[in-house]
Amino acid sequence: MPSFSALSRCLFSEKESWAETDCSEKIPNKNMTIVFFIESIWYEFPEKRFISKNKINKFSGHKKFSTYCPAIMIADLNYLKTMSGGDSKFIREMIELFREQIEEYNVVMPDLVRRKEYDGLSKSAHKAKSSVAVMGMSEMADLLKDLETLAREGKEAERYEAMVSEFLQQSRMALEELDNTPI
């Protein structure tokens, strides 16, 4: 179960990099069938993607998910640590700021999509891109950059809802992760 839990967290376009992490030996038999099985669930049932860390810890018996395999954490505080010289108080302030920003985006962005306010959505994505970049969420920064460009040009509007949903969901998971990570 710990392997399943950990594996399911990093399968989003991460199959190859997973094999290079220190956790590779924890994949049961390195059986790629399991990988594809979990990946299919990941794509088919997006609402099931979010697994509470408490549940993971309950199953895995590990106190903290992040200590199980740091290589698969969504957020990466190295940039903030470098910039602040490891000032934990400042880093906590930045995490709290990020939490407030996500709460705001959680209200604003889906509303902009609903109202087809694509210019506003593009601007919002631009701002959010900076927030996630500071938290070391480079994949989300790339996603938001794409959203910013697409929304500014009003192209592929059918994708916006899924992109916003992915961003919000990953951000919530990152925050939960950060709450359980010693700084």
Partner: protein, 113 residues
């Protein structure tokens, strides 16, 4: 430590006798700012003229002030940031977080818009 003056309805604060906002003075500066935000609807502009360096504890002070302002229906803005300090704001992506103005007058007027 903090010099305070009132222009129109805006409280303008600046640092006295120093060109740095760092860990040595961060805590008393923070306490003074938070005390100013104890009243509701306070409009406060932090004038960074002559400040040449801010460290993480200094940025932490601004984040606390912003939070205090927002919790008490106030507003916190920053002005006259020099080029080097602005680079630090940008490196931390905080230029998207704070309202920053080149000129004090523009900053003060923005509170009335």
């Amino acid at each position: 430590m903090l010099e305070t003056r009132k222009i129109d309805q805006v409280t303008v604060v600046s640092l006295k006798d120093t060109d740095r906002l760092n860990a040595i003075i961060a805590e008393p500066v923070k306490e003074s700012l938070l005390a100013l935000f104890q009243k509701p609807h306070v409009k406060l502009a932090f004038d960074l003229k002559d400040i040449t360096f801010i460290d993480s504890s200094g940025f932490g002070v601004f984040l606390s002030a912003l939070k205090a302002a927002s919790n008490n229906q106030g507003a916190f803005k920053i002005c006259r940031v020099n080029k080097e300090v602005m680079e630090l704001f940008k490196l931390l992506q905080l230029h998207h977080v704070f309202e920053i103005y080149d000129e004090l007058d523009d900053c003060i007027q923005s509170f009335n818009q």
